[in-house]
Symmetry: C2
Subunit: 224 residues, 2 copies
């Protein structure tokens, strides 16, 4: 599909964008990156994603697709090469279950710990949710959630691998630590070390500055 | 796949279970229904769905699958016959987007209207979310979200088609009405009239009694 036109609307900071970029990298797809200013979204973005008005949006030969996990399934459906979802229907269902667990259960639980600046109940809830992922890595004894190679579940979990540690430094929270989650943090090291993942991550300093600024606004009412 | 063993753990009341039953009906799959007492869940259910401990769980030849939309994709992957998702990758992505919109955005917005007994802000939010579905039906001019036939999106929306009207009768709320949502309620009539859907619905009187009891507990502190 050498003549394909692939555009990705992104913001240079979102884990949801990183998910899509990892999938594009795994398939070796060339794409044009269109960086949006989220405080002044382009007419094209609003037109392509009128329901959520959010990045990422992938536009393939003029056809827009939103929602990172939907985009990843589309990429895996359309392009050959490294599989992102298992080909066996049962293994595929299991991968979808865990990707959904990460997206719908773990990520919101971590957001709540950060939003609440480490509320005890939020920490108890997020710890229980992440312990299930920790146990999954212990039980399978594999390097990645996908086994010996990354798959949909690892990609869905890119936020957990990279963002919380930076948010916690900015906000002075200690929740997502090596002591508490030794297997998940070991997985994160391995995952972030994959070339297809590494290239998609916003620079640490850039993210840290962004979260520090948000923290300052919350504490002082004004950005620095 | 005549020798397949298919079991469905269910509760006789859940829209998530109805979703799976509609998919099984569409494919003409025979299954054994195992009705759980949710106040005293079976060891088998807890064993098959240790993460959420919830119905529905489909067990196909010994392999358990949870999460209704994941189960439906599995059913469509494994069994031939009437397609539940479109076969074209872009149309498939569009169907997944809308099924997710219904499941993650519309349903929770309606739950919140009911939980709050018609809080104004909750009503404004849910109205805006449902108006998007209303507009979608107006724009396409088709009988179903899937077009001339039902697909994943219609199945995902079975809660909207059947449950809110009953909950609102029990709680004395007027939100989901024909006047407000003429297209969605017309779609609901058509959808609920399909034989594969009709057979999966818990009896209205049974659901009404259940929600009336919950309402009485909330108002009086004791069931009738």
């Amino acid at each position: 599909m050498a003549d394909d036109e692939v555009k990705l609307y992104e913001d240079g900071r979102s884990p949801y964008v990183s998910r899509v970029k990892i999938a594009l990298n795994m398939k070796g797809i060339k794409y044009e990156s269109l960086v949006e200013d989220l405080s002044n979204k382009s007419a094209d973005l609003l037109n392509h994603n009128p329901v959520y008005k959010k990045v990422p949006v992938l536009v393939h030969n003029g056809n827009p697709i939103s929602e990172s996990l939907v985009i990843i399934e589309y990429i895996d459906d359309v392009w050959e090469g490294v599989p992102i979802l298992p080909r066996d229907p049962y293994e595929k269902a299991v991968a979808r279950f865990w990707a959904k667990y990460v997206a719908d259960t773990c990520n919101p639980a971590i957001y709540e710990v950060h939003r609440s600046y480490g509320d005890e109940q939020a920490i108890a809830k997020a710890s229980a949710k992440l312990q299930i992922l920790e146990n999954k890595l212990i039980t399978t004894g594999k390097k990645f959630f996908g086994g010996d190679n990354i798959n949909l579940v690892d990609i869905a979990a890119v936020y957990i691998a990279y963002w919380p540690e930076i948010v916690e430094e900015a906000k002075g929270i200690k929740f997502y630590t090596r002591e508490k989650f030794p297997k998940i943090t070991e997985w994160a090291d391995n995952f972030l070390n994959c070339q297809v993942v590494k290239e998609t991550l916003p620079p640490r300093a850039h993210l840290l500055e962004y979260f520090l600024n948000r923290h300052r606004i919350r504490c002082n009412g004004t950005p620095k």
